[in-house]
Symmetry: C2
Subunit: 220 residues, 2 copies
């Protein structure tokens, strides 16, 4: 058992080393990058779609799509005619830094302002593996229940931004937004919290304005 732990430790530190490499490459090119995480079905892909749709004339996007298998999400984004790299992890439940490094080396970085990485749908392991991306975003939808922050604290703790999605369904679901936000801010006082609906576009502008502000900071 001790042997396994040692190997995992070395895996973690090797991962961190490569994450730093990824971070350096992106920093050097002044690319703003997002690591989108969340449970299966939380609406990560729709959130990305809507973001690109609203900003495609202002910024040049690049995408790394992580999936256990298949390329369903990549296919949804193909219509934008932007560079997309699909990563299939086989059985693994998270992206690792070496996968992301491989991904960015296959993207035309000189033509990208914003890199979006969609991580594997999972609230646990993606939080444990840094991948060198600047801003961690957790997408949590109101249909998942109010208790997600308490049950998966690490994910919310390492995130810079929390998107509470599917608020168009609030009239039909018992979900106390204030309770969720209080719990979130208690765990992670610095986190940026935005509630919206990627489907109807309700409140989506708040996220778009936030992203524009980040781009401005990046370029100044």
């Amino acid at each position: 058992m001790i042997k396994i732990l040692r190997i995992e430790e070395s895996l973690f530190s090797e991962n961190e080393k490569i994450a730093n490499e990824v971070s350096s490459i992106l920093k050097e090119r002044k690319i703003l990058s997002f690591n989108i995480m969340g449970a299966p079905g939380s609406g990560k892909t729709t959130f990305i779609e809507k973001t690109i749709e609203m900003l495609k004339n202002d910024f040049r996007f690049g995408i790394i799509e992580g999936d256990v298998e298949g390329k369903y999400d990549s296919e949804k984004l193909e219509k934008f005619n932007i560079p997309i790299v699909q990563i299939n992890t086989g059985g693994a439940c998270h992206l690792e830094a070496n996968m992301v490094k491989n991904g960015i080396l296959n993207l035309p970085l000189e033509n990208i302002d914003i890199l979006i990485v969609e991580n594997i749908g999972n609230l646990i392991c993606p939080a444990e593996f840094p991948i060198g991306i600047e801003k961690n975003i957790v997408v949590s939808s109101i249909t998942e229940g109010e208790d997600k922050v308490e049950k998966y604290p690490l994910m919310f703790k390492i995130s810079h931004i929390c998107i509470l999605n599917k608020i168009d369904l609030l009239p039909y679901i018992d979900f106390n937004v204030k309770k969720f936000e209080d719990e979130l801010k208690r765990l992670s006082p610095q986190i940026n919290f935005i509630k919206l609906s990627s489907k109807t576009g309700e409140n989506f502008n708040q996220w778009i304005e936030f992203l524009r502000k980040l781009m401005k900071e990046k370029r100044s």
Copy 2:
């Protein structure tokens, strides 16, 4: 890297050995057991709550609750005054057979007819680790989208029963039940498919009747 693979292989086979032990212990005592899996927020705990509520006068339940940390779900089930073992995995995203073995050794098995194990909220790893429980159930809620079978095929392939949950929200969500069911049956023709709402109780009797049938078979 080869070294890591060898260790993982031996971990898998050690896990399988213990899963067989768990299976033998439960078989010997004629305990019907369910391994409840699904994404975070798919409604696993509410499904279990409703099941116990409807059958608590007919059968004696025992529960093993798996969570990364905390005991929120156990606390929800405490009102039934039944034996519950809470397992916290630390960072791990699935239960393993040795955890479940440890769990059942801490339950009064002689007083249990039905053992329910709630696995970690995750559609990936729990499918990769057999835990010696008789019936695998995947709970998928309509709010997660129609594409879950295609994106997480292993989970649906190893499941004996698929519960499509939260059908009370069908009027408010774009979800084609037939498309989901067709995809499911194509992947796994033998699977038992039941759509219901654990919240409103709609169609829940279909599951209860199915469970009664399984108990009858077990005791005959």
